[in-house]
């Protein structure tokens, strides 16, 4: 190529660059969400429908990338004191609320003290007890003083766990009935435009977003479509562009139809989830370890992976998800292979002979109707060793009441989400002080001082290697005691039309970098 041609070619490239990027700016993305949010204040609830939408309106101090590694968001940098008791965040200089006011350290302090530590269930339970105080010595400096080193801190500060809200809006009035809950003012990539309940939430591009060049989309519309079948048909017809969650059984309908399918371990609404059977240890039959071992040996979890998840996931190898590799104990459950003969022997030994109809005894299982296929498979598998299984379908409020408040159940099938750190989502399942009316706490009513000690020690040190040792030690005990039977780790599948790229389904702010291609 001659030098002249080279120069011309380079000129053409340079000159066309703005047009190329202009092509990728603009457009509307229609996102289908299964339930109506009710309101849009993410600091007073952990409800997934609220977080799915509000994550695009607000920011956290930090954001988490696909691997769960902390990245800057409202905080451009942070330093942790050597003793782990002081964490200092420096805020970005040019972040502004959608009404034009600057985002300051006072907003951060106010949000934690008045909203998150009072009303955000996970942050109140998982972070507030570790925090001594939050100070705002300068407009752009936030200092967390901790009572003890708190390892999961950074993973609890993204927009899903700790969205930052404007003090000048929320300082007055009751946070639970605040008018701004229905017309939120955030700092995020999209501004609130309108909300019609059970219909749609419309957000528009924030032209003054502090992350230069973002977002690319002009409008982000969330359509509430409760019926999964309607969602799939609307996506295929191009009426919607993005499905937050696709059931494994529906994935095949979307393959080779101009749809991008991405599997993640999490996002708004939970991450690193393990489908888990909880035994009520206060019921005499199930208090017998032989019975629990027999149930574990009778179940073929590979069938669950194949027939229910269509291979989109893994058979659980340990009580802690493989998505948290530094705490996960590979092969922890290897001592419990599928063995119906062993199950039969254990049940005989435990004093449960088969009756005239071949049944030894029957137990109930409380679950959501969406988990029906698990119940069908488990009923077949347990029937082979003479255990009858009666499915009891309940909704979220019913499960909370029957299982956690009244403890009126034998077993329950729950998707326990581990979160990004075992201190957030795992400890609650096993801690003996966490048995009670709060949904998804210690359903088994498992009490083990040694396990309590390991979880407490692991939460109170910053050293990941030491923490991992404690978690692995706890898992060895849990694998031997079987207060739960961990079934499968389900992938979460998100789908969008090929006309788009750059969605980040693992993030609370999933559309920040999304582009419409044509």
């Amino acid at each position: 190529m001659s030098p002249v041609r080279l120069v011309v070619a380079m000129l053409v490239l340079v000159l066309s660059a703005p047009f190329a990027s202009a092509q990728l700016r603009g457009g509307t993305a229609v996102v289908a969400v299964p339930s109506d949010p009710g309101h849009l204040n993410p600091a007073i609830t952990t409800s997934a429908p609220v977080q799915q939408i509000a994550g695009s309106i607000f920011n956290g101090l930090i954001s988490l990338d696909e691997t769960g590694t902390p990245r800057p968001d409202l905080a451009q940098s942070w330093t942790i004191a050597p003793d782990g008791l002081r964490v200092t965040f420096t805020l970005v200089p040019d972040a502004r609320w959608h009404d034009g006011q600057p985002v300051t350290a006072e907003d951060v302090k106010f949000t934690f003290e008045n909203l998150l530590f009072r009303f955000h269930a996970r942050t109140r339970a998982g972070l507030a007890p570790a925090v001594e105080s939050i100070d705002a010595p300068e407009a752009r400096t936030v200092v967390f003083r901790l009572r003890r080193p708190h390892a999961p801190l950074l993973r609890q500060l993204d927009v899903l766990e700790a969205p930052i809200l404007p003090r000048h809006v929320y300082a007055e009035g009751d946070a639970n009935q605040h008018p701004a809950n229905l017309r939120p003012v955030g700092s995020g990539p999209f501004r609130f435009e309108s909300y019609r309940q059970d219909d749609s939430v419309v957000l528009v591009r924030n032209p003054a977003y502090f992350k230069a060049g973002l977002p690319h989309l002009d409008r982000l519309v969330f359509r509430v479509i409760p019926d999964a079948n309607t969602q799939i048909q609307a996506l295929l017809a191009g009426e919607v562009d993005y499905l937050v969650r696709v059931a494994a059984s529906d994935v095949r309908r979307l393959q080779n139809r101009g749809i991008t399918l991405v599997d993640t371990r999490g996002g708004a609404g939970g991450s690193n989830c393990i489908m888990t059977l909880a035994f009520n240890l206060e019921r005499p039959t199930l208090a017998d370890l032989r019975v629990r071992r027999a149930i574990a040996a009778a179940m073929d979890r590979n069938q669950m992976l194949d027939l229910i998840l269509f291979g989109r996931g893994r058979v659980a190898e340990a009580p802690i998800s493989s998505g948290i590799p530094w705490a996960h104990l590979p092969g922890a459950l290897a001592a419990h292979p599928i063995d119906p003969a062993l199950a039969n022997r254990l049940l005989d030994e435990a004093g449960h002979p088969r009756g005239a109809n071949g049944e030894r005894f029957s137990i109930d299982m409380f679950l959501y109707a969406t988990f029906t296929r698990y119940a069908e498979l488990m009923r077949q598998q347990l029937a082979q060793v003479g255990i009858g299984l009666r499915a009891r379908f309940v909704d979220a409020a019913g499960l909370g009441e029957a299982v956690f408040a009244r403890r009126y159940f034998d077993t329950t099938l729950v998707s326990y989400c581990n979160g990004l750190d075992p201190a957030i989502g795992v400890r609650r399942m096993y801690d003996s002080t966490n048995i009670g009316s709060v949904p998804f706490s210690n359903a088994a009513a498992f009490r083990n001082a040694e396990v309590d000690r390991h979880f407490a020690a692991a939460g109170a040190t910053m050293d990941e290697a030491v923490r991992g040792e404690h978690y692995r030690a706890a898992q060895r005990i849990l694998a031997a005691e079987l207060p739960y039977w961990w079934l499968v780790e389900a992938n979460l599948t998100t789908a969008w039309r090929d006309a788009f790229r750059g969605f980040a389904p693992w993030s609370g702010s999933f559309a920040e970098g999304a582009q419409r291609l044509r």
């Binding site: 952990t46 809950n181 017809a237 609650r428």
Partner: protein, 319 residues
């Protein structure tokens, strides 16, 4: 007639009060509470109790009931825990969609049912028609909705699959808005209407056949009246009266069907409001929607009674 109207309206008050009280008791008997539903699913000691205190749901049920009754007397349906707004406002927002949906569907069912019922009322044959009407009547509304979507939206691409409007291109002007709404509501109305149509057609056919055997029909025919005149002018009005009463009793089924249709087509109507509120144990909203549904049934039956009175001289004289 006016006395009757006043008497019936006064009678409606205790009816509604009983319906509302039953709804109140049932809503509060359901396991779980709005505080647990709002508090989320992670262990935060004291959180649920604090929310219950703020909501006032931790007080004795009798106190809540009396307070709710006093509010109701002033026409106030209370405050929604979930939506953080007055229940009357929530219902007002949703009423339009559900009214258009149910009234259009009722009209469609009535016209189509009368027409096809009358057309197939011939003395011979008609078994196939009866079987078809019975089948349509027996199909679950959800299935009818899915079939309509498969044929007209997915297959032929004529109509949208879901929603009230196209979010990518909001309609402009009143004409555009009406056209867009009509396109979006066509399938929901058809799904809901078809569910009621079979019933009307079957009844019309049966009633008409009964009337066609009567002497006055023979007289009309003897006078040389055409078959269409005989059926539509002479027999149909007489067949219609009991039909009207039965249609009043179908309002409940219509409201129930609206709930299914609103869910299948993702429409923001009263049925969806009731479902989301029930899941969140948002008792004031659930009770409010039940009250509105009960009111609709009472009013529909009253309207049917008055219409009957107006149409039937015998009843007019009796009253």
């Amino acid at each position: 007639m006016r006395r009757l109207l006043i008497r019936r309206l006064l009678l409606a008050v205790p009816t509604l009060l009983v319906a509302a009280t039953i709804a109140f008791v049932l809503a509060h008997l359901a396991p779980g509470s709005p505080a647990v539903a709002l508090g989320g699913d992670f262990g935060a000691p004291g959180l649920v109790e604090e929310i219950a205190r703020i909501q006032g749901t931790d007080r004795p049920l009798a106190v809540i009931y009396v307070e709710w009754l006093l509010r109701l007397a002033r026409g106030d349906l209370g405050f929604s825990f979930r939506a953080q707004a007055p229940v009357t406002a929530l219902i007002g927002d949703r009423l339009g969609v559900t009214l258009v949906l149910t009234l259009s569907a009722a009209l469609l069912a009535m016209l189509l049912g009368l027409l096809l019922g009358a057309a197939t009322a011939a003395r011979k044959g008609g078994r196939a028609a009866v079987a078809t009407f019975a089948l349509v009547q027996a199909l679950p509304v959800y299935l009818v909705a899915q079939l309509l979507v498969l044929v007209f939206a997915v297959g032929l691409g004529l109509l949208p699959i879901q929603g009230l409007e196209n979010p990518r291109a909001p309609p402009e002007g009143l004409a555009g808005l009406l056209a867009d709404r009509a396109r979006h509501l066509a399938l929901p109305i058809a799904a809901l209407g078809l569910g009621q149509f079979g019933f009307v057609a079957l009844l019309t056919r049966a009633r008409l056949r009964e009337e066609l055997g009567r002497l006055y029909v023979t007289t009309a025919r003897a006078r040389g009246a055409g078959e269409a005149t005989v059926r539509l002018r002479h027999a149909l009005p007489n067949a219609l009266l009991p039909l009207l009463a039965l249609f009043g009793s179908r309002v409940g089924a219509l409201v129930g069907g609206a709930l299914v249709v609103e869910t299948a087509f993702a429409l923001p109507g009263l049925g969806r409001l009731a479902v989301t509120a029930a899941i969140a144990r948002d008792q004031p909203t659930v009770i409010g929607v039940v009250l509105v549904a009960a009111l609709a049934i009472v009013l529909a039956n009253l309207a049917v009674d008055l219409l009957q009175l107006w149409l039937d001289p015998r009843q007019r004289e009796a009253s």
